[in-house]
Amino acid sequence: MLIRATVNGAECALDVSPAMSLLTLLRDELELTGSKNACEQGECGSCSVWLDGELVCSCLVPAMQAHGCDVRTVESLATNGDLHPVQDAFLAAGAVQCGFCTPGLVVAAADLLARDPHPTDEAIREALAGNLCRCTGYQKIIDAVRLAEEAIA
């Protein structure tokens, strides 16, 4: 079926199959491979995107549900070559190792700071509890959120 959606500010008309996930649509049809597929079950958060401003695991969203919606992915965060403060903070804090979870965590952290500009440690942990990282042990990810908080304030 044909759907219309706005993806990272661009209007798109897309032919999607009923079984297709939003993640597959983004990765295979639109070649936006920043959103990653690591678990296919909404457990790891590597595919996190915004659907009408709401943080979702795009692997769990049927593509056709994006009809009429505004979809924003990690690719929307850096503008004109300037990194988003969260992206810069992840680099400064050493919160990136293999990087596979990073796009999802950057999106989730940016979402947190947009909702809650000065989160408690508990709020950071709770907000990022749906994002698995196998490399860092998460400590530097918390550091990165704190750095981004300062940069945004």
């Binding site: 990765r27 690591a38 678990c39 457990e43 050493g94 190792q97 596979f100 990073t102 698995l132 400590q139």
Partner: protein, 764 residues
Amino acid sequence: MSVKERGGIGQSARRVDGEPKVTGEYAYGSDLRTENMLWGATVRSPHASARILAIHAEPIRHMDGVACVLAAADLEHAKTFGLEFCDQPVLAEDVVRFRGEAVAVVAAETYEQARLAAASLVVDYEPLPAVTDMEQALELDAPRVHHFGNVLRHVHIDHGDPADAFADVWVEGYYETAMQDQAALGPEGGLAVPAADGGIDLYAVTQWIHIDRQQIAPCLGLPEEKVRITLAGVGGAFGSREDITMQIHACLLALRTHRAVKMVYGREESFHGHVHRHPSRTWLRLGATHDGKLVAGEARLLMDGGAYASSSPAVIGNAATFAVGPYEVENVRVEGTVVYTNNPPCGAMRGFGAPQVCFAYEAAMDELAAKLGMDPIDLRLRNAVKTGSVLPTGQVLEGSAPLREVIERCRAIPLPEEAPVAGRDAIAYPGGAGNVSRGESLKRGVGFAVGFKNIMYSEGYDDASEATVSLRPSPAGPVASIRTAAVDYGQGLYTILAQIVRTELGVEQVLLEPSTSGVGSAGSTSASRQTTMTGGAVLMACREIRAALGNEELTRPITRTCTYHHRATTPLDEHGQGSPHVSFAFVAQRVVAEVDEELGLVRVVQVATVQDAGRVLNPQGATGQVEGGTAQGLGLALTEEIQLVDGAIRNASFTDYLIPTILDVAPVVTEFVEEPELDAPYGVKGIGELATVVSTAAVVAALRDATGRTLNRVPVHPDDLVGIRSEATTSGPAPVPDVPGQKSIPEYLGLGLGQSMLMKASDT
């Protein structure tokens, strides 16, 4: 040329590959695509052990979009592969030996068509008796996984005589560890593109490009130079990308169809498609004098290697040589066996045999301290090895060994304040986000553990690394470039190499060329070896460039290629004596944890780690390795277990296989002891594995302190902590198999065709 230190060694330089990783542009194996490509899919065995009676491929060939179906009968060249022995079929031929073994591969126009075709392939099997328990595998009438029997390698170490040793106090324990998954987030994946010259261009994830090529080329019937491998982005590895997964399959399909073929594993397939950490059983006896001097150690180790050899022989070699810990013990006897079973194959994972025995010997040390009435940290200090100590293999510890300082500094890190039990945020209780407790029956425990591990490959293996550095003038100043086949799967090697070049050549601009098979081997990114080995090769090349330039101005490009070799090691002799390891690194860790004794839930409060690093080249990267490594050890202590029933993985998903989340980890306080290692570039020691080696033992020590329970099996379940499940029991040590040692059994049978022979072949 002035040496500018910006981003040089000793500084927390930013990752050279960081920016594309935070923007999403970095291309991992699963992100690759090209015009007109096919998708590959794998058909896997539903049986742990069965005879293949028939594969009904013909109907599949006529399905929509299907371009190719391949089974064993279609293979025209080498039919097996393997890291140490080529004992694993590319596609199962007469029998399948584990549930999940590849039986056929399919290529089709779309991913869905390929998956549907694979799922539709009918294979007739005759199920055979399976052996899925490592002790059962040693029984004489057990089903044989391979025709030559079930023992893969037996290692024997005899040093002094424990039976004659005068010990006042003995402790004896039995310990079990589960099969752990590396759980790298980035799946196996890549793209094989047939070339006009009849060769193949493969873009894939791996830990060692050249060992992949040496296994792939014979299976394609191609000379190695026609198998050109370029590293794709690797989304973590931790050992799981040392072995071949989809590489040969994708190349075979591409050569057969004359089209590019992409293969990517989903998470469930990934659990079946790569090797895991060996489950282990350890029987350990330690004897000491009244004043706490260890005088005897006896260990019986058994590991489940699964259906194929992978790197199991090296893993049991490591475990056996580390079995009594980093302590001076004059009388030691170790019997270590790794067996074949019909379980999924096991191989490399961060720590490589060391975490399993660390869990055992550190539990025994705590028990010994209690029996002696000694402080457990004092007991460790009393027996800690130092430079000049003799290890159970007879190897004299020649390099740096600041274990005492490591232990004392870890002990000195202030304990965290005890938070009041009442009135916390819900997530600060065990079981946190589940909001199940207000801390009604909270017990706090403190555990301490020490661990050690070898750096670089062992037992006589020369895992050399080649690197090329160029320095050329440019209008914007001198530019250096580094060319190597080394793999950075996230740990930060490329950044370290750039830091070395900045420091040595005094340049700001350092380019890293893609890692390919077009240059000499860099060896594997494993065994904590790359900073020493490829770092060493880059350092040599830089110094040759400096010598060539002298005091002249840079007017023309200068290029140097160097190969770094580590100090030679020896195999174990018939008594398990020799100098099998190059270098050792040491670690101590103290864990504070809270246990809810009614719910059996755990909250780790703080982890304090002091690690021997030789010299720290990038402090931020180094602490990142300790923090991440700790999380993996904590996972094995508390939640991570591949659950097997009759050889079938019951939890092949991130819903059911539980890796630590941000709610499960605690703040990690990390310090390094920097005592330069002999002969190593800048005095470095690899840092990637140590925290994983020790943290399982340290976490469980804290749980024992909190609960007073034995806890001799990991992961520790809530049932263990509330006392519903009894401790792991044994009817006594497993029998020592009647086989030759110290080599692997396939080697005695002439089945060797693994990495050592292939390395020799490639040298000629």
